[in-house]
């Protein structure tokens, strides 16, 4: 009969041919990968032919009983698939390539250890134990990781696709299903094996199918939009409320130490209180290139935003290019009676032409000058 080696190389050849055709049909790319696959076909066919010709392995040692123990092995097939994926990966993408490498390595090592263990002794249970001893430490974690990865990945894909409230419901349903399945299995101890297996397979297939479908259909719209627009990164420091930036603004502070000044908006006026100086100030000295924390307290009725104007708007040469960029940083809209912190780090000194100041968004009057020496 045909030897294992022949089967392997024959399989490689056939699958490579298929891969070659498919890659040409699907990708119309033939560069390096195509050459590699062609080469593989040639080598595979040559070796298969050689093995068939020499009939290697068809005769067995008559005086050993090991031949009886040799089991059917799927590893040659699996490794062949690995080779094909590897070659396909050269044409398509590196993910497929690495997938192929992993499959190939796994299959080869399984094959090798199996072959070795079958020759270990005359006792087949002993051989099985020897195989287990070396391979179980690899098989267990790999299987666990693959299973876990597939479930988690599929599930998270589904969650990313459905909308937020459906997601929560879906989540609790998934949990409940698992629990219910557990309970059913527990109270029906003599359920037939195939039924149990069917439930498990259905569940697994369901989640994987859902995952694949979700991955194909893409994430829910708000997430796509959020990723594209960066809702929280570009704050417009205007007086009006911004949809995202001012959402659920904060009123309390975790930062209490190392505050340079407290700026209070009170009775239509902005004043600064500075550590060490008793009187309220209308100007504030801030060291160059030092992170400086300022607390803004809104002691009026409306919602207001403190903005630090850090120059830039009057830059003449830039304005000529049509770029009237303002260098500003600001707090969220602060509710009445609430506080927020603002951290400034100013690198350039202020000057007569380039005045820095703090102001309340929407009013140009209420200012505190920032002196940067």
């Amino acid at each position: 009969m045909f030897s294992t080696g022949f089967k392997y190389f024959f399989g490689v050849t056939v699958l490579s041919v298929v891969a070659l055709i498919m890659s040409y049909a699907l990708f119309e790319k033939f560069a390096l990968g195509g050459v590699a696959i062609s080469f593989l076909i040639a080598v595979g066919a040559l070796l298969a032919g050689l093995l068939a010709f020499s009939s290697d392995g068809t005769t067995r040692d008559a005086n050993t009983s090991t031949s009886d123990l040799t089991t059917q092995s799927i590893w040659p097939l699996v490794s062949a698939i690995g080779v094909v994926f590897l070659a396909l990966g050269l044409v398509t993408s590196s993910v497929v390539f690495f997938g192929g490498v992993v499959v190939l390595l796994a299959a080869l090592s399984e094959w090798m250890v199996q072959a070795w263990s079958e020759r270990a002794s005359t006792d087949s249970t002993h051989n099985a134990a020897a195989r287990k001893r070396l391979l179980n430490p690899i098989e267990f974690p790999v299987l666990a990781a693959v299973g876990l990865g597939v479930v988690i990945f599929s599930f998270s894909r589904i969650m990313l696709t459905v909308n937020k409230s459906t997601g929560a419901i879906l989540f609790i349903v998934a949990g409940a299903l698992v629990l219910v399945a557990g309970v059913i299995f527990a109270i029906k101890p003599n359920m037939k094996r195939p039924v149990g297996a069917a439930i498990c397979v259905l569940g697994a297939l369901g989640i994987v199918a859902g995952g694949v479908a979700s991955a194909v259909s893409g994430e829910r719209e708000e997430l796509v939009e959020a990723a594209a627009e960066g809702h929280f990164s570009h704050a417009e420091c205007g007086p009006e409320e911004s949809k995202y930036y001012d959402k659920l603004s904060e009123g309390t502070l975790s930062l209490r130490s190392s505050v340079s000044a407290t700026v209070v908006y009170q009775d239509g006026e902005l004043i600064a209180r500075i550590q060490g100086l008793a009187k309220p100030q209308k100007s504030l000295t801030v060291g160059r290139s030092i992170p400086t924390n300022i607390i803004f307290r809104n002691a009026t009725e409306g919602e207001f935003r403190l903005v630090a104007h850090l120059g830039g708007s009057k830059s003449a040469d830039k304005a000529a290019d049509g770029d009237s960029h303002k260098d500003e940083t600001c707090t969220q809209l602060v509710a009445p009676g609430a506080e927020q912190s603002l951290t400034l780090n100013i690198a350039k000194p202020s000057s007569v032409e380039n005045v820095y100041y703090l102001y309340i968004a929407g009013s140009d009057e209420k200012k505190i000058e920032l002196v940067v020496p």
């Binding site: 002794s121 020897a130 001893r133 179980n136 974690p141 780090n345």
Partner: protein
Amino acid sequence: MAIIERPAPTVPAIVTPTTTYGLLKRPVSATGWRSWVFTVDHKKLGIMYGATAMLFFIVGGVEALLIRLQLAAPNGKVLNADLYNQMFTMHATTMVFLFVMPMAAGFANYFVPLQIGARDVAFPRLNAFGFWAFLFGGIFLNLAWFLGGAADGGWFMYAPNSGPVFSPSNGVDFWALGLQITGIASLTGAINLIITVLNMRAPGMSLMKMPIFTWMITVVQFLLLFAIPVITVALFLLSFQRNFGAQFFDVAAGADPLLWQHLFWIFGHPEVYVLILPSFGIVSEVLPVFSRKPLFGYPFVVFSGAAIGFVGWGVWAHHMFASGLGPVSVAVFSLTTMAIAVPTGVKIINWTLTMWSGKLWFTTAMKFSIGLIVLFTVGGLSGVTHAVAPSDTQQTDTYYIVAHFHYVLFGGAVLGIFSGFYYWWPKVFGKMLNEKLGSWNFWLMVIGLNLTFGPMHILGLQGQPRRMYQWTEARAGEGFFNLAFWNLIASIGSFVLAVGILTFLINVLITSRNPQKAPLDPWDARSLEWMTTNPPKEHNFDVVPTVHHLDDFFHQKYEEDAATHTMKQVRTAEEIMAEQERNADKHIHMPSPSYWPIVLAFGLPVITFGVIYSHLISVVGGVIVLFAAYGWALESSTAPDSDFETNTPGTGLDKVASNHD
């Protein structure tokens, strides 16, 4: 061999090679390098811990000598600024994490099971893993020297100076990740020893009959158990910042650099007691033996040790008196720091009173112990002076602090360790260390350490800060005894100290060539570890002893004379041993050697290496770790019969499949 059969089987062994796993069988050899690499025997691991720690001690010592060479004269040119900063960082790191801690772990590993009458630790393979993780972690830490420079931020590695911009070489990465690995080693060691002490004491040995060394080790392991995760968190934050772009110590993003200091010292202060308490334990064993009296106030010593363990958690901020805490925190931590001086003082008093009215025998071990009492007191008292926070703001980060903690750590921890060497050497190696050389060793070390660290008090009080790669004559003051003079003296002293340690190594060398065996009970000792052969058999005791007293071995040898209350010998150690041999247990199953601990430990530096260079390497490391972990979990702690080349049928081998690790 994992199974010890007594008496020796008379049936000839039948070789059945067909049932072996060939290459895949478990390691079972009792000789050769395999017996060391794959061992799970707590005694072998103890020796390996000790030898490795000694090696790192020499490395750290050479670093110290280079530092002192650089500072011997103003504007030293031996090292440049960069190299000097690496040198003092690695000196401290090596001495703390790679010498004192593992050396104590070595003593603990070897003697705790012996002292409580156990045959091994609770988790023998975990024990082996701990050693290999420590060794690989230590090597990983020092690899940085050859890969672009070692860590240069000081052993305290304050943020943000340890950040990617301020410390651009890979040194800090190697440091942080290497300490993670040795941290894993310490953690597993701590769990192992705690369970061993709690669960595996010989019958009759209640907690208050435990030898004091075991007690102190137990306190230390609890400290480690709770302190290691804190530094682990800190190191993770640091590594995440350096390698994955986290912002934990990025001040521009609003981070607070004091977070690192708090995390570091919440670990760091208990760590100080981790370093010193094992030596307290050793001294508390040595003093009673050579005073021929039990430890004075045993319960007080135990409770003061435990008290140090507890209060040690409430003093960390005394390392930060100058770092801008509010006056209330400063006051509170000042108070707790003074409070912890009390239980420490109790120990000094008890040791002195142990010697009081004893019959003192000044062996080298005893000399080192007495040296510890005096020199540790100096360090302890200088410690009290900076518990006074306002005074500390003058002294912190000066050489006064260097003097203080070297008196504590060298005068305390290291002298204790050397005391342990001389006391237990015959037990471990079956040979006596030379007492005459020992005396030289002691005096050279004591003189050397006083010459080195004594002048540092003056240097510090006169305003020389630490961690300066050069000092300038402009700030050295005038007069003959100016800072230049004392710097020179300290440098000379450090070489005297080095000669002292060299004497010890020579002593070991000479001893190892001496064919003469040590007597069974050379010191007329008191605790259980002496109730076995020198060195002990693999299974420690032929009969697991039943304990009736504290210092049970002594009470088996001596009985009190009713009239004079003096002690009279009734039995010799040899007689006790002979009796044990007669009643020896049969069928003692010892855990078998295993490949997995070393494989698992090897995976760790591979992972960390990958964190620095390429994440693909980390994946390989992760696979190694997972593979080894599963191999470990699937293997029973005692090898089944099929793993042995020889099989002795009919002797009733119990197939013990006990897996406890």
